[in-house]
Amino acid sequence: MIPSKFDYVRVNSIDEAIQQLKQFNGEGMLIAGGHSLVPLLKFRLSEPGALIDISRISELKGVRKEGDRIVIGALTTHFQIANDPIVKEYIPVLSETVRQIGDLQVRNRGTIGGNIAHADPAADLPAAAFVLDAEIAIHGEDGPETMNIDSFIVGPLITMLPENSVLTSISFAIPPAHTNAEYLKFSHPASGYPVIGVAVVAGVGENDVIDYIRIAITGVGNVAYRATSVEEKLLGQTLSQTLLKEAAQLAAEEGDMASDLFTSEDYRRNLCKVYTERALKSVFYSN
């Protein structure tokens, strides 16, 4: 399969990227790892006039700790994140999530910025981004701005990324010290993408009362979502197996379940409950 013709420019800075995007006047597209874009180009589902290659902008790479947040440059690859000592120490659930993306070759190439900017409804990362309260840093024509993940991804392959701008980094909140976290995924056996992915960060305080809980689900519908009704059911309650089971029943409530050639809507709804319960049990009872 051969993509349609396009122009190609390689840029070395964020400003240069913005300038080129302006120059191509809506016809230009950024390319990072290319592992979502190149397959689309090959199917001619995407036919940009030009590709603007940002993959060598060094200021967009790497992981650092800033106060109570971990900041990850947009071009940091899945493999680098999976093995980064700062990520492993402070937000291990992110390392666990990216370790489950695609395969060895995909993880070597794909970037966190590309994954979030692409907003594939079946991507793994949005679930972790929701439970770690991700802030998306963007640099546009008017300078830098940030958006929370819950307002950034608005639909399948649709984000609020303004025209002529670059996603520069994503920062994740370090969860409170007493919490545990988990990402559980049921992969499609051929593609490796999640049919469902559930991320949970949670903790209990005195007298076994649940005092911290964030749950997010990806893969089942058009967009990843926070399972707020599960969170509300659990917060402030005394931990028990029965409570977790009851709460997990609510997991499918916020999401629009997709029905496609992989699975029916009912099956997805059921997966939501089963995987949410498993993830909750693992977080609360594994150690």
Partner: protein
């Protein structure tokens, strides 16, 4: 505005090579058609099978999912760069001795993927090898022998401290 062809220069299997290609040229086509190295195979062309796997700057990637221009200036190793009949690379030795191939179609990609795995993890468990094989498909389904071959190769490399390819930069 006419779209101009671009010069793509790489160091492939130790040799400097250059070709002028359309920006839309895939790395796999550049390697096979422009540089004439047909050891790298195309199995699916949809990023699934890994038959097209090569090392780019020391990392294994699927060359059907990378544009040639993206690899400009990089150092590439293909299956031809591993070794030859008289001087087999440990991974080739492993495949030879443990019968790691049947029809051989997937083999170049599997070997490159496994060189990539061994670079990240020189002493993988069976499970880690199987996880590492996620990005390759063997239509002859000889996975058990592939796992044996990789374990054998890992042992040879640990014992002889053979330099992995794509190390020198």
């Amino acid at each position: 505005m006419a779209i101009e062809n671009v010069n793509v220069k790489v160091k492939i299997n130790g040799k400097e090579r250059c070709a002028k290609v359309e920006p839309r040229t895939l790395l796999t086509h550049y390697i096979r058609d422009d540089l004439g190295l047909t050891g790298t195979h195309i199995g699916c062309d949809t990023s699934q099978c890994g038959a097209c796997s090569v090392m780019v700057d020391g990392e294994v990637v699927k060359s059907c999912t990378v544009l040639a221009v993206q690899a400009d200036g990089s150092e590439i190793t293909t299956v031809e760069g591993l070794g030859d009949v008289n001087n087999l690379h440990p991974i080739q030795q492993g495949f030879w001795e443990k019968h790691g191939l049947q029809c051989g179609y997937c083999t170049p990609g599997v070997m490159m993927a496994m060189v990539g795995l061994l670079k990240q993890n020189p002493d993988p468990s069976d499970e880690e090898i199987r996880e590492g094989l996620e990005g390759v498909i063997c239509r002859c389904t000889g996975y058990q022998f592939i796992v044996e071959a990789v374990k054998h190769a890992a042992q040879i490399m640990r014992e002889s401290e053979v330099q992995l390819v794509g190390e020198e930069r």
